[in-house]
């Protein structure tokens, strides 16, 4: 299986850090995973919410690579389109982040007119997925062994709200998946009926009735195609939006977890400083002056570490507040615009249907 798919990325920008205003490159899926991995490494521990990359679907892609028959082609096209759309959303989300968009790896990803070195940590589970897996373990272990002394209510409230939101979105996602399923069923049955209506038309000997029945079959075929199109809208506009946000929430939870780690470090530094001070005091009492200089140096070092720890903690807390604020604003925009887009697609459908059926009416009336 040496062949692989590449995706063409066209970027249009007016940001001066980029070399040109309009440019394009080709990248393969593993390149995207590699990019995400790097961004997460560099930014997550600073409290920045790094948009998650699309999941690597082992089953999906191998099935597609292996099948060459006709219905394999349809499944293939569907799969590729789903992936392409999710990669597009991923890049756009990353590009809308004020800091991430300027990241050197991100810029290289978009601009470098050559193949990127093959990303190494994209095995069967994508890097992000693996990390999430481990982090979840890490978090749960941490929760058992470490309870952070939270002085800021905001963080506790937000985490609870995020849990609730996560729960809600999952429920909605299930509902929407059911919607897609039933619409696809409706489409299938409409197609069957169209065929059977054509059969009746063929059997019919009365000329204009026969013609009307054939036309009924044609209209039903058009209706079926509308249903197919709408099922796509159900999926891409609603289901994928919800899925994206479920994954985004995981990324948000990740930065909260990072903040806890930073706090742990700070606390650890404070504990070490206290020990060093105790050591110094003991030495003083015992009169061991030759090691006093060392002890004083240690204290100075750890005072600096404690300061650094506090500073990092305050930084990350501030960053997270900003990031979450952005996240919430963006969420409102994304959801509102998706709802409107979805309603527009339903409305379009109805307009088409009105046209189809009103065009058919004179045929039905002209029979007898």
């Amino acid at each position: 299986m040496g062949a692989y798919m590449t995706y063409k990325i066209v970027t249009k920008t007016n940001i001066p850090e980029f070399k040109k205003e309009l440019f394009s490159v080709n990248r393969r899926f593993s390149d995207f995973l590699g990019l995400h991995s790097k961004l997460e490494e560099k930014h997550a521990h600073l409290g920045r919410i790094v948009p998650p990359a699309p999941e690597k679907s082992v089953i999906g892609m191998t099935k597609v690579k292996m099948s060459k028959e006709d219905d394999g082609t349809l499944a293939h096209d569907e799969f590729v389109e789903k992936r392409r759309a999710s990669l597009e959303r991923y890049l756009n989300r990353t590009a809308s982040h004020a800091v991430l968009r300027l990241d050197s790896d991100f810029r290289e990803f978009l601009q470098l007119d050559a193949d990127l070195p093959k990303a190494t940590n994209t095995s069967a589970l994508s890097g992000a997925g693996m990390k999430r897996l481990f982090n979840r373990v890490g978090i749960s272990v941490n929760k058992m062994t470490y309870k952070m002394d939270e002085s800021d209510e905001w963080f506790e409230e937000k985490q609870q709200q995020l849990e609730n939101l996560d729960d809600q979105l999952r429920k909605l996602h299930t509902s929407v998946e059911a919607l897609v399923h039933h619409r696809k069923q409706l489409s299938l049955h409409t197609a069957s009926f169209a065929k059977s209506a054509a059969m009746v038309g063929n059997a019919e000997e009365h000329t204009s009735l026969s013609r009307a029945l054939s036309q009924l079959a044609e209209v039903e075929e058009k209706v079926e195609r509308l249903h197919e199109k709408q099922a796509d809208a159900d999926f891409f506009v609603l289901a994928e939006l919800l899925k994206d946000y479920i994954n985004l929430i995981a990324a948000v939870k990740e930065v909260f977890h990072q903040r806890v780690k930073v706090f742990q470090n700070w606390e650890a530094a404070q504990q070490t400083l206290t020990k060093k001070r105790e050591t110094e005091a003991k030495m003083h009492l015992a009169g061991k002056t030759e090691k006093l200089d060392q002890a004083k140096a240690d204290i100075a070092e750890w005072e600096a570490n404690v300061q650094k720890g506090q500073h990092e903690f305050e930084e990350i807390s501030q960053t997270i507040r900003k990031e979450v604020d952005c996240f919430e604003k963006q969420r409102v925009i994304d959801f509102k615009s998706s709802i409107i887009k979805y309603l527009d697609s339903l409305i379009d459908d109805q307009q088409q249907l009105i046209q189809y059926w009103e065009a058919f009416l004179p045929e039905a009336r002209a029979i007898a």
Binding site: N164, K171, L172, F193, S196, F335, Q351, L353, I354, E358
Partner: protein, 313 residues
């Protein structure tokens, strides 16, 4: 019982008998089975009694009886329609299907028709009835799928409604949008329900009834062929008859011939009427169906644009 009476009292041999719709049971278990069959085995929604559908089919059945030259004049039918007291419930000794089958015999019915016109009609009825059954079954699937889709929208709408209470505090604007969206989806669900009901009442009903009706026409032609076989047998018997039995055989042959000819005359008229009626009814139903579909789309268009307007403000 009515059907039993009409059939036994009248010479139905050349007559196409309008089909009596079956009697679906109305208890909890059958409702559950029907729901599973229509909406899928994982559904938790119960489909209502098919009472509405049955009563509409019966209405159609009665209308056809009334308009029929033979049955329309039968006093039993008038009594059925007019009499205010409940009719006595009598258990039929012989089931209806066995009654009809006593009139014709499977083996005889397979015999080719001597008349080209009637043979052609028989082929036509067979083919057409099959096509209608297939179309009817496919159309019913559409109706069920419409109902399921409506339910799915209902669930989504409810899920959204329940959640707008517990939104992230800062998102009052999103709250409003989501609850308006939820209302829009609820309305859309109702639109789908109305559409599926109308579909059922127009094309759905029509296809189901007429598939059975074409079958009834085919049955009639088969009964005629049985009489043909009887006539041919009587003829052969006459040829072979011994002199002392000649007179009786001659009588038998003349009777068989008369019955056969009368049947053929009635059948010719019946077929012509049947096919003409069918074209008229079919075109009417197609018109009704298309009109109701166009109207449903129109109504949903209005509902959705109203919802969209409330969201854009």
């Amino acid at each position: 019982m009515l059907e039993h009476g009409l059939i036994t009292d009248n010479d139905i041999r050349g007559v196409i008998v309008p089909p009596l719709p079956g009697n679906p049971s109305a208890n909890a278990e059958s409702a559950e089975n029907r729901s599973k069959k229509q909406l899928g085995s994982s559904t938790r929604t119960l489909v209502g009694d098919e009472f509405d559908k049955t009563s509409r089919l019966l209405q159609k059945y009665l209308r056809h009886l009334i308009n029929h030259p033979v049955f329309g004049k039968d006093p039993k039918l008038e009594k059925f329609l007019v009499q205010k007291e409940a009719l006595p419930h009598v258990k039929l000794r012989k089931g209806l299907s066995s009654l009809l089958s006593s009139v014709w015999d499977n083996r005889k019915a397979a015999h080719p028709d001597c008349d080209e016109y009637f043979q052609k009609q028989r082929n036509y009825m067979t083919e057409y009835s099959q096509a209608l059954y297939t179309a009817s079954s496919a159309f019913n699937q559409i109706v069920y799928a419409e109902k399921s889709l409506g339910n799915a929208y209902g669930h989504l709408s409810t899920a959204l409604k329940l959640q707008t209470g517990a939104q992230l505090g800062s998102n009052a604007r999103l709250n409003k949008s989501l609850s308006r969206f939820s209302k829009g989806l609820e309305d859309f669900k109702h639109g789908l329900e109305v559409m599926s009901n109308n579909d059922e009442r127009t094309l759905g009903l029509y296809l189901e009834f007429h598939a059975m009706y074409f079958d009834a026409a085919k049955d009639m032609l088969q009964r005629r062929v049985c009489l043909q076989v009887d006539y041919e047998s009587a003829n052969k018997a006459l040829d072979k008859a011994k002199p002392n039995k000649k007179e009786a055989a001659q009588q038998a042959k003349l009777l068989a011939e008369k019955v056969f000819d009368e049947c053929s005359d009635v059948a010719r008229v019946e077929i012509k009427t049947f096919r003409q009626q069918y074209v008229v009814e079919c075109s009417k139903v197609l018109e009704l169906y298309a009109e109701s579909r166009a109207k449903a789309a129109q109504d949903m268009y209005v509902l959705l644009t109203t919802c969209l307007d409330t969201l854009k403000t």
